[in-house]
């Protein structure tokens, strides 16, 4: 009977049943209607030893292909220093639960406090929560947060320049929750302020959500946005890549009330889509409308500085159906990931990552344009991701690249193709990419 994760010997079971006062394990299920007890065989494989399990995973692994990535669309192949994974594997971190007993959870509570501090440093906002599932759900929760703070307004505007992976999720959430979501069509690849101003006229808009860098990699210019939006008593939210915020103008500098986004760019492995984390930050005035867990500093009975989950009265376990969100966890370990990454990279490293990525991206962009086979689309400033157009057969090119172990740019249709370059891409890799693409 005993198994490596289930330590019960026959003797243990006998002794325990005696203590309980029943004759058999079946008696412990005696209250369950017979007809729902499952007696057939499960359609899963037989038990595997570690040796067999490793072989099975290696077989699956061999069916994947690790590529040299020149694509982004919300997920970027940034480098993660070795230290991060080593520290993440400390089981005091990963085998702990949500820090409900602060006296024995100061490790978790402190790194979340540091995470909140670091994200606030990047986006300039006064308050950051302990993290959300991903950037898309965080953005959807921002839409809810806007409606909840406006009390009587139920409409949210979102720019069509936000990634479609994010927009899809925001649409789903708003549809079911009953938030009236208006997508503002783009103009020349960026958010159309005139269209926003026109929509704001009706007076029923609770908030406006815009991205930077946007889905084309363009760094948007939000001059005039905050004033126009605040004039109509609506909230202004910016969905921003936190890594890029080490160099580009921050949501706080643009006068935003809320910032949100996905933390994958903070060195997290692409991992076939997750886990990453979502972040939400806001002004102090909106703090109590912000969903999710929050850690605050306080003192213990001996006057020692310590940390604790706070502002819990906003949350679902207390407010039940009156809570502003149903979230009751965070991506804690990924917040630790981001924290250690940012601690290692620090003030200079975060700038350097962006400089290297931007230099590589601009180098690739310039070479593509110089080739005469690719043309600019928007002529707008970008950081590590950009769109060009071409008459070449991009699907054919991408298949050729794939055969050489390269993930090329992502085709957006109509000859448009989007590339991303991170600090991991060398000049040689970029030169090779260009050579392969222009082979015909």
């Amino acid at each position: 009977m005993s198994y490596k994760f289930i330590p019960h010997t026959e003797e243990d079971i006998k002794l325990m049943l005696e203590k309980i006062g029943v004759n058999s394990i079946d008696d412990l299920y005696g209250d369950i209607p017979r007809e729902v007890i499952f007696t057939k065989e499960y359609d899963i494989p037989s038990s595997m030893s570690e040796i067999e399990l490793r072989k099975h995973f290696q077989e699956l692994a061999d069916k994947n292909k690790s590529l040299t990535v020149f694509a982004g669309r919300g997920v970027y192949d940034h480098y993660c220093p070795s230290v991060v994974n080593h520290l993440l594997q400390r089981s005091e971190f990963y085998t702990a639960y949500t820090p409900y007993q602060p006296e024995i959870s100061q490790g978790t509570l402190q790194y979340i406090f540091e995470y909140q501090s670091l994200i606030s440093e990047l986006n300039g906002m006064e308050a950051t929560n302990a993290s959300m599932y991903d950037g898309a759900t965080a953005t959807a929760e921002v839409a809810f947060m806007m409606v909840a703070s406006a009390r009587k307004k139920n409409r949210v505007l979102i720019s069509d320049t936000i990634s479609e992976n994010v927009l899809r999720v925001v649409k789903t959430y708003c549809h079911f929750h009953g938030v009236d979501l208006t997508v503002i069509p783009e103009k020349d690849g960026v958010t159309d302020l005139d269209a926003i101003v026109k929509e704001l006229e009706s007076g029923d808009v609770a908030g406006v959500i815009v991205p930077t860098p946007n889905k084309y990699g363009i760094i948007e210019d939000f001059t005039g946005f905050a004033d126009a939006i605040h004039a109509k008593k609506a909230l202004f939210a910016i969905n921003a890549d936190p890594s890029a915020l080490a160099v580009i103008k921050t949501p706080a500098e643009w006068g935003a009330d809320v910032a949100c986004g996905d933390g994958q760019t903070l060195g997290m492995p692409m991992n076939f889509g997750g886990p990453y984390l979502g972040y939400i930050s806001c002004t102090k005035a909106l703090l109590r409308k912000m969903p999710g867990r929050v850690v605050g500093a306080t003192k213990d009975a001996d006057g020692k500085r310590c940390f604790v989950l706070t502002l819990q009265a906003r949350e679902q376990h207390i407010r039940r159906e009156k809570a502003t969100s149903n979230i009751c966890s965070n991506q804690s370990l990924m917040a630790l990931y981001a924290t250690i990454y940012l601690a290692l990279m620090g003030k200079e490293g975060m700038r350097e990552v962006n400089v290297l990525s931007a230099d590589g991206a601009h180098y690739l962009y310039n070479r593509l344009i110089e080739s005469g086979k690719f043309q600019p689309v928007y002529n707008k400033p970008f950081l590590k991701e950009f769109v060009v157009k071409t008459d070449l057969d991009i699907d054919k090119i991408n298949q050729r690249l794939l055969d050489k172990g390269i993930m090329g740019g992502i085709s957006l249709g109509n000859g448009m193709v989007e590339f991303a370059v991170t600090e991991k891409r060398t000049k040689e890799e970029i030169d090779n990419l260009i050579t392969l693409m222009l082979e015909d």
Partner: protein, 488 residues
């Protein structure tokens, strides 16, 4: 280890660094191509520390934590079972971690096969037709499940069904998820043992009810014995049954939610399927549905073609997307490894041994602690505080005293049905010896409560920090280092 209380920011020295990047050979100034007004004015005040500073700092922080690997963690409704180490090793295989979610599916067949196999295994274990692995957590699974419920009624043109029945004993997430999904909550009363009162349920059922959310065993650890009748009543009224998988562990290997009549359920991979809780996440909340609901599962959905190839599908009737990509893939890898390790044979013992452990603790402690609901429980049970109420020692005091003795506290003050709730869930991975040690300490605390109550009331005394001022933390929120410095 001496007390360590630095923040990473407090180790910072200008000019120090913890990284090295390759030299820039591009001879191109990318940032110069960006107008000055689109760049930030000052550098972010991030720490400047060496690699060893970082390693020591976070190692020291880890020493202030208590995890399942540290000791017994009987946290009710959280299923703190052992997190197998092989899973942690497999989930960081570079052939998986290096996959871009948008790369050509032909080059990610191994990942898709794993994903598909896990969907299939969960369906078999739950007695349902199909699963999505996209939801990130239990609460996210609930939300997804309720969206499926609404999509089903909407597709039938049955648009009046905007209410969902939730027992008053339910986890707080149930009503909150219903609210987010745009459903109105109707509460059904519980009987004294926490089970749904069928007589109270009957008049609530009508053509405005989208369905019911249930946890079985319920939040008191008791099996809902009238489930078959409840399922029939709800189905006859045109509603669907949602199963909150938070308490699935005792049924694993014994009872399948689909066979009880549930149409939709979520599973917490971080509870039943051994993936680590990670200090609050990432978790994973796959959602399974019966055959008549598969078309509503969220996009993207991983499917297998007739030629054996795996592909990513975006269904037209789908409720839409609830995640950026495929959910927390790294968590799924661990759950898949766990299922294969146990296999169809050993998995049958998970629920039964979890149930055995819970009943053993309950029967061993009911002389000192008040057991409001007698009889056989499933994976967990609730005490209503100490039996001897004359000592003035509360459930909170007992919980804090346990920390001094090297155990994690049970879940306290939930469920709300009792004043001094103390919810204990041992899981199947704990040995008889560990349970006996816990029982001994619980008896000792009860004795202290009678003889030297001040020791219990003042607890904890030996933890890295002592009782925290939570009131001031909530009154004057200090949420980052900058605010901390300003308040110093």
């Amino acid at each position: 280890m001496k007390y360590y209380d630095k923040l990473i920011f407090e180790l910072s020295r200008p000019g120090r660094k913890g990284y090295e990047l390759p030299a820039d050979k591009f001879n191109t100034d990318g940032l110069a191509a960006i107008p000055q007004n689109l760049l930030r004015e000052e550098k972010a005040e991030l720490p400047e520390v060496s690699e060893l500073d970082v390693v020591r700092h976070y190692t020291n922080l880890s020493n202030k934590n208590f995890g399942v690997d540290t000791g017994f963690y009987p946290l009710g409704s959280c299923t703190m079972k052992y997190n197998p180490k092989i899973n942690e090793e497999l989930c960081v295989m570079p052939e998986f971690t290096s996959l871009h979610p948008l790369q050509n599916p032909d080059t990610a067949q191994g990942a898709l096969e794993l994903y598909y196999n896990l969907q299939h295994a969960l369906a078999s274990l739950a007695g349902l037709a199909e699963f999505t692995l996209n939801p990130y957590a239990g609460a996210h699974g609930e939300l997804t499940g309720l969206m499926i419920m609404r999509s089903y009624h909407d597709a039938r043109g049955d648009k009046k069904r905007k209410k969902v029945i939730v027992p008053n004993s339910a986890h707080g997430t149930n009503p909150a998820s219903a609210m987010v999904a745009g459903l109105e909550v109707v509460e059904v009363k519980s009987k004294p043992n926490g089970s749904i009162d069928v007589e109270d349920l009957k008049p609530l059922l009508n053509d405005e009810i989208a369905g019911i959310m249930m946890t079985n065993p319920n939040t008191l650890g008791m099996f809902e014995t009238e489930i078959i009748e409840i399922a029939k009543l709800v189905h006859d009224a045109g509603g669907l049954l949602y199963y909150d998988g938070a308490n699935f562990n005792p049924l694993l290997g014994k009872v399948r939610p689909g066979d009880m009549g549930f149409d939709i359920m979520h599973i917490n991979l971080h509870k039943t399927f051994s993936t680590p809780h990670g200090g609050g996440g990432p978790g994973s909340g796959p959602v399974g549905v019966a055959a008549h609901l598969t078309q509503f599962l969220p996009n993207p959905h991983v499917k297998k073609a007739e030629n054996g190839k795996f592909y990513v599908d975006f269904g037209k009737e789908s409720l839409g997307s609830i995640s950026t990509f495929f959910g927390n893939f790294g968590v799924m890898m661990r759950a898949y490894a766990y299922i294969l390790s146990l296999g169809k044979e050993n998995i049958r013992n998970v629920g039964p041994m979890a149930t055995l452990n819970a009943n053993y603790i309950k029967e061993s402690l009911k002389d000192d602690y008040l057991l409001p609901i007698p009889g056989v429980c499933k994976h967990e049970f609730v005490f209503d505080g100490l039996k001897d109420k004359s000592t003035g020692v509360t459930t909170l005091n007992v919980a804090k005293r346990l920390l001094d003795y090297g155990f994690h506290a049970p879940t306290i003050y939930f469920p709300l049905l009792f004043h001094e709730s103390m919810m204990i869930e041992p899981t199947e991975t704990e040995s008889l010896e560990t349970l006996d040690e816990f029982i001994e300490v619980m008896h000792k605390v009860a004795k202290e409560a009678r003889e030297t109550p001040e020791d219990v009331v003042n607890a904890p005394l030996t933890t890295p920090v002592r009782k925290l001022d939570e009131t001031n933390a909530a009154k004057n929120p200090i949420l980052n280092y900058k605010a901390l410095k300003e308040n110093a």
